[in-house]
């Protein structure tokens, strides 16, 4: 959960990028690190000791500057997407304040998206949180592959599969190109900070 240091007036909150394996979670963070480098308060850490698959997590701390006199810092995490790393995902989700669910638009990954979203809902429940209440943005990644003639799912189908009950905001993206990455992050931060505002009872 968000940590509020009243003495130093610093708020730290945690945003986790979740989703099926190879969906683009790490690519999102890599793009954010490159594009918003001046906001990064430290280097991005990727614990993926074997090739380019995340085995543990990625971590990127960002500073957002001052909001209502408080220094706001965000910690971005990704989780490993493969099914066997469920216990790691549970650990990384501890204390989460907001979630970006990176869904893979490839037709062949349709089932994997739904399974991963269900996994997120269960792990949030174990944390005492509801997927319907936690700030959540859906990112439909790899939209660029359509141009290469690769079958991808229409946005309507992805919404029907994953968002018919959640009614969460969604963004189309191509993380490898950087398209939609900033918009997704911005939406997620807005929702997370709005929730924090309620919690800390900030008034206008």
């Amino acid at each position: 959960m968000a940590v509020f240091n009243a003495k130093d007036r610093i708020i730290e909150c945690k945003l986790v990028y979740y989703g099926p394996g190879r969906g683009g979670k790490t690519t999102n963070l890599e793009y954010i690190f490159t594009a918003f480098n001046k906001n990064a308060s430290a280097e991005m850490v990727s614990i993926n000791t074997m090739g380019d698959r995340t085995l543990f997590f990625d971590f990127l701390p960002l500073g957002l500057g001052k909001i209502r006199g408080c220094e706001v810092k965000i910690q971005l995490y990704t989780v490993p997407g493969q099914a066997r790393y469920r216990s790691t995902r549970k650990m990384v989700l501890k204390g989460v304040d907001g979630v970006v669910f990176v869904a893979d638009s490839l037709e062949v990954r349709r089932k994997a998206n739904v399974i991963s979203l269900r996994d997120l809902a269960e792990n949030l429940k174990d944390e005492g949180k509801s997927i319907f209440e936690v700030p959540l943005v859906l990112q439909y990644n790899k939209r660029d592959l359509k141009e290469q003639g690769i079958p991808i799912l229409p946005v309507e189908v992805m919404n029907m599969d994953m968002n018919s009950k959640l009614k969460a905001p969604f963004c189309e993206a191509s993380a490898i190109k950087g398209d939609g990455v900033g918009a997704t992050l911005k939406q997620a931060l807005l929702m997370t900070l709005r929730e924090l505002q309620k919690e800390l009872k900030w008034t206008r």
């Binding site: 394996g21 190879r22 850490v45 614990i47 000791t49 074997m50 380019d52 698959r53 085995l55 543990f56 971590f59 910690q75 066997r84 216990s87 790691t88 549970k90 650990m91 501890k94 204390g95 490839l106 062949v108 990954r109 005492g128 592959l145 290469q148 003639g149 690769i150 079958p151 800390l200 009872k201």
Partner: protein, 300 residues
């Protein structure tokens, strides 16, 4: 679209899946292409094409095998392990944080380092039963059931645990062994007490992050109340009730006995009982009108 174009498109698709790391999907696509090629005499006679596709399938299968053979949880560098402890420790008290850090290492598969830390904590007498159980868990995760039993045998003669605590540990290990289908006879706990009751009082009370109280009453209709701990001093926790919980605050007047409290800590969940030590209404600040409740949890 001609069949040649279809094959070209499918080959591109298979290759994209491979570069995306979707090896199973890539293999499935190449197999589909091979089947398509073999059904068409024009293509099936193209030896280079057929061998090329078979070569792709073999390459993807090799990648899949290599992936399967990779260790699930490679041992990380000491710096990475320190980062894990830093990022996944939320407790405020030193001892609970130390246990939580070691637990985080274990959850990230860093069992060897986690074991080192748990052993060190046990030597220091930090929450011995919790620490010992985590040592057993690490051993079982490392598939070293015999090591867990050896530690238990050492604990029987060490001055670390009381008789009851050793019995609790014996039961815990027995369950763990049974779960793994391991048949090892565990030594019995003798009737000697290993640690006096007086000494137990010196132990630091476990840090509690949340409690769940079972409430009963006509107006409350037998429900559970989940409360986050705002502050803790020894075994007294302070929780917060919103201003619209007047009925609950009235029911939990000072002196009220609570027979069923579920306590959540970063390292374990346990049931206990306690007494409401005090209540107060917040008079100033953003939470004005809300209530604070002090609850003393029974120490044993």
């Amino acid at each position: 679209m001609s069949e040649k174009d279809i094959i070209k498109r499918l080959l591109k698709e298979a290759e994209i899946y491979r570069t995306q790391g979707l090896l199973s999907d890539s293999k499935a696509k190449y197999v589909e292409i091979l089947s398509l090629v073999n059904r068409n005499p024009t293509f099936s006679r193209n030896h280079e094409l057929v061998q090329g596709i078979k070569g792709k399938i073999r390459a993807v299968e090799k990648s899949l095998r290599e992936l399967k053979e990779r260790p699930d949880r490679p041992e990380l560098t000491r710096d990475m392990q320190k980062l894990i402890k830093k990022l996944f420790t939320f407790s405020q008290t030193k001892e609970a944080a130390a246990i939580e850090g070691a637990v985080a290492l274990a959850k990230f598969g860093q069992y060897d380092q986690a074991l080192n830390e748990f052993h060190s904590l046990l030597e220091q007498g930090v929450l011995p039963v919790v620490t010992a159980k985590n040592i057993v868990r690490c051993c079982m995760s490392l598939r070293k059931a015999d090591a867990a039993v050896e530690y238990y045998a050492k604990w029987l003669s060490a001055d670390l645990f009381s008789f009851d605590e050793l019995k609790e540990l014996r039961a815990f290990i027995a369950t763990a062994l049974e779960k793994e289908g391991v048949r090892i006879d565990l030594p019995e706990v003798t009737a000697r007490s290993r640690k006096s009751r007086a000494k137990r009082g010196e132990e630091t009370f476990l840090e509690i992050s949340a409690i769940s109280i079972h409430l009963q009453g006509d107006s409350l209709q037998d429900r559970s109340l989940d409360l986050e701990v705002q502050f803790q001093s020894a075994n007294t926790v302070t929780v917060h009730l919103p201003s619209n919980s007047r009925e609950v605050a009235r029911l939990l007047a000072p002196g009220t006995r609570l027979d069923d409290i579920q306590c959540f800590s970063p390292v374990t969940v346990f049931r206990s009982s306690g007494t409401v030590a005090g209540t107060a209404t917040i008079k100033h600040g953003p939470k004005r009108g809300d209530y604070t409740l002090d609850i003393t949890i029974d120490a044993d």
